[in-house]
C-alpha cells in the first residue's frame, strides 16, 4: 500500500474509533465538570466524608480516641450488605487497631478493650433494613460499667 493510502486508512480507522468512543467521552466530560464543581473546592477529608458520610465520620471518631494498639469491637446497627462493607472498610481507616464488626448486641468480646456502638444513617437503613440482633437493654448492660470516650450523632466509643 502506498504511504498516503496507508495514512488515509489509519485516519479512517482513528475517526471510526473516536466516533464510537464519543458517547463515553461526552458523558465523562459532564461527570468531570460536575465532580470538579462539587469536590475541587473542599479538602480530601471532606470529599471522603461526602462519599461515605456516616461510616467515615465514625471511623474518624474512633481513630481520635482509640490508640493504634487498641482492640475494638464495633456493634453496628446496619443491614447485612452494609455490615460486610464496613467489615472491610473500617480496617482501612483504623489499622493497626485490632477490629471486629458485628450486628448483634450479644456479640462476644473476649479481647477487645474498646466498644463502639454505631448506628447507620436512616437513608442506608431505608435501603437495607437491619437484620441482626439488637437488644437495647443488653446494650445498656454492656456499656454500663464502661467510660464513654466519645458520643456523636451515630457513634459512641466506650472503654
Amino acid at each position: 500500500m502506498k504511504p498516503h493510502r496507508a495514512h488515509l486508512a489509519l485516519f479512517a480507522l482513528l475517526t471510526l474509533w473516536m466516533c464510537l468512543a464519543w458517547p463515553h467521552l461526552d458523558e465523562q466530560f459532564s461527570t468531570t465538570r460536575q465532580t470538579l464543581a462539587a469536590l475541587a473546592v473542599v479538602s480530601w477529608d471532606e470529599r471522603t466524608a461526602a462519599e461515605w458520610p456516616a461510616g467515615y465520620r465514625a471511623a474518624q471518631a474512633v481513630a481520635r480516641v482509640v490508640p493504634p494498639s487498641g482492640s475494638v469491637l464495633v456493634l453496628a446497627y446496619t443491614g447485612p450488605a452494609a455490615l460486610n462493607y464496613y467489615q472491610a472498610r473500617f480496617p482501612y481507616y483504623l489499622y493497626p487497631r485490632r477490629l471486629r464488626v458485628a450486628d448483634r448486641t450479644d456479640a462476644p468480646s473476649d479481647t477487645e478493650t474498646y466498644l463502639v456502638v454505631f448506628r447507620d444513617a436512616p437513608a442506608t437503613l431505608a435501603r437495607e433494613p437491619f437484620r441482626g440482633h439488637w437488644d437495647s437493654r443488653q446494650l445498656g448492660e454492656r456499656t454500663a460499667g464502661r467510660t464513654r470516650l466519645f458520643a456523636g450523632d451515630r457513634v459512641e466509643v466506650y472503654r
Binding site: A6, L25, T35
Partner: protein
C-alpha cells in the same frame, strides 16, 4: 506532586536497572523504566523489610546513586525525532482526549464505594505496610482481615513507597499509581508498536488505546486496583517475547522474562502468564539447542527473584492461599456460560473495535506474512482466557457474580495486547516496517547475514 515524584523516581530506578536492554528513545526509557522501576522498588522494600532496614526514601534510593552517577557520566544520547506529519499530530491530539477528561476526575475523587478492591485489598495493604514499616506485621495478622492476603505485593509495596515519599498515609498519592501505570501502558504500547511498524501507525493505535473505555474505567474510576499495572506487564512480557522470537536478541528475552515475572508479582493471573511465557521461551531454547547460558539465566533468574521469595514468605507466615484450584472441585458445566460470557469482548461500547480488529487480524495474519512469532500474541491472550475458564470451572465462587465482577477487568487487561497484535498486522499490510534504526548495528548485520543465508 508525590505521584509525579514517585513516577519519576521509579522511572529512573527502572532505567538504571534495565536501561542496558531498553532501546527506543525517551518514551521507551520513561515508560519501560517506570514499569520496571515500580517492580524493582517493590522488591527492594520487601528485601529491606526482611533485613529489618527502615523504609526511608533516601535509604531506598541510595544503592542506585553510584549507578546513576556512572550513567550520567556516559550522557545517554536521545535522537531528536523527525517533525510529525498531519496524521501524527491528529493522533497525538486524540491521545490526549480521554486522559484530559479522566485525570482531573480521578484527582478530585476520594476512594469510592465502587472501588472495593482498592481499599479492601491493594491500598489497604499499602497503608498497613507503610504504618508498620514492614510486611511482616500484616502477614502475621493474615486471618484477621477481609482482604486477599495471598495476592502478590507489587502494587501494595509500590503504594507503600508512595506513602513513604509523602511522609504520611496519603490516599491521593497511593491511588495515583493506576493513572501512572496507564500512561506507562501508552508509552510501552507506542514503543513496541513503533519498533515493528511505522510511526503514524504506532501513534494512531496508541491514540486508540488511550481512548478505550474499559481501559479508562479501570485506570481512573477504579484507581488503586492492580489491573492497569498488570496490563502493562502483560503487554511488555508478550511484546518482548514476540521481539525475541522474531529477532533472536537476548536483550528482548531478558525484558520478556523480567516483565512476565513482574506480572506474576502483580496479580495471580500473572503467574499463569509467566508459566506460558516461560514454557514458550524454554521450549524455543531447547528445540533450537541454544547453548547460551545467559539466555537460560534470563529465563530463570527473574521468576526466581520475584516469585520465589513471596511463595516462601507466604508459607512461612501460613498465609491462607486463595488458589482457585486448591479446592479440587471442578464444575465443567460452568464452561458453557463462561465461554458465552466472552462475547462481552465484542461490545463496541466497552472495548470499541479492539476484539473485532483482533478477529480481522487473525483472518489476515497469513496474508500479512509475519510468520509464526506473531501467533504468540493472540496465543498468550487466549492462554489467559483459558486460565480464566479454568478458574470458572474450579467453581469456587458463584459464577454469575464472578463474571459480573471480574470479566470486564480481565478483558481490559488483555485489550492492549489484542490491539498490539492488530497494529502489527495493520503495519505489515499497510506499510513496510521501518525498524532498522532501532536495531543495534552489530546484531543487525548478524541478522541480515542469517536472513540472506536462509534465502
Amino acid at each position: 506532586m508525590i505521584a509525579l515524584a514517585g513516577a519519576a523516581l521509579a522511572a529512573i530506578v527502572g532505567w538504571l536497572a534495565a536501561g542496558r536492554w531498553i532501546r527506543g528513545g525517551w518514551p521507551a526509557g520513561a515508560a519501560l523504566g517506570f514499569a520496571a522501576g515500580a517492580g524493582v522498588l517493590s522488591l527492594q522494600l520487601l528485601a529491606y523489610s526482611l533485613l529489618h532496614l527502615p523504609w526511608k526514601p533516601w535509604l531506598v534510593l541510595l544503592p542506585w546513586a553510584p549507578l546513576a552517577w556512572q550513567r550520567l557520566r556516559q550522557r545517554p544520547a536521545f535522537q531528536r525525532p523527525a517533525p510529525p506529519n498531519w496524521l501524527e499530530v491528529l493522533a497525538l491530539l486524540a491521545m490526549l482526549a480521554a486522559p484530559a477528561l479522566w485525570l482531573p476526575y480521578e484527582r478530585a475523587m476520594p476512594l469510592t464505594t465502587r472501588g472495593w478492591d482498592a481499599w479492601a485489598i491493594w491500598l489497604f495493604k499499602a497503608k498497613a505496610f507503610y504504618l508498620d514499616g514492614n510486611v511482616q506485621g500484616v502477614l502475621a495478622r493474615a486471618g484477621e482481615f477481609a482482604w486477599q492476603p495471598s495476592y502478590p505485593l507489587l502494587v501494595p509495596l509500590y503504594g507503600a513507597f508512595l506513602h513513604t515519599l509523602a511522609g504520611t498515609a496519603s490516599d491521593a498519592a497511593a491511588k495515583s499509581l493506576s493513572p501512572c501505570f496507564f500512561f506507562a501502558l501508552l508509552g510501552v504500547f507506542y514503543c513496541l508498536a513503533r519498533r515493528f511498524t511505522t510511526r503514524p501507525a504506532a501513534l494512531v493505535f496508541t491514540a486508540m488505546l488511550a481512548n478505550l473505555h474499559m481501559v479508562n474505567i479501570v485506570a481512573f474510576e477504579l484507581a488503586g486496583y492492580a489491573d492497569t499495572a498488570l496490563s502493562v506487564y502483560l503487554l511488555a512480557g508478550a511484546g518482548f517475547l514476540y521481539a525475541w522470537l522474531r529477532d533472536g536478541q537476548p536483550s528482548d528475552l531478558a525484558l520478556a522474562s523480567v516483565f512476565s515475572s513482574l506480572a506474576a508479582w502483580t496479580k495471580n493471573e500473572g503467574l499463569f502468564f509467566l508459566a506460558g511465557v516461560g514454557t514458550v521461551a524454554a521450549a524455543r531454547l531447547a528445540v533450537r539447542r541454544i547453548p547460551d547460558w545467559r539466555c537460560w539465566m534470563a529465563v530463570l533468574l527473574p521468576p526466581a527473584v520475584t516469585v520465589l521469595p513471596w511463595l516462601v514468605l507466604r508459607r512461612w507466615y501460613h498465609v491462607p492461599a486463595s488458589d482457585l484450584f486448591a479446592a479440587g472441585r471442578w464444575n465443567w458445566a460452568n464452561l458453557v456460560p463462561g465461554i458465552g460470557s466472552f462475547a462481552q469482548a465484542f461490545q463496541l461500547g466497552r472495548y470499541n473495535l479492539t476484539f473485532w480488529l483482533l478477529l480481522g487480524a487473525l483472518l489476515a495474519a497469513r496474508r500479512a506474512g509475519l510468520g509464526a512469532p506473531w501467533w504468540i500474541l493472540p496465543g498468550l491472550a487466549g492462554w489467559q482466557m483459558l486460565g480464566l475458564l479454568g478458574a470458572y470451572a474450579a467453581g469456587r465462587n458463584d459464577l454469575g457474580w464472578w463474571i459480573g465482577t471480574s470479566l470486564d477487568r480481565i478483558l481490559a487487561q488483555l485489550a492492549p495486547l489484542a490491539l498490539f497484535a492488530s497494529a502489527l498486522i495493520f503495519g505489515a499490510l499497510a506499510a513496510p516496517a521501518q525498524t532498522e534504526h532501532l536495531t543495534p548495528r552489530r546484531e543487525s548485520r548478524n541478522l541480515k547475514a542469517k536472513r540472506s543465508k536462509t534465502k
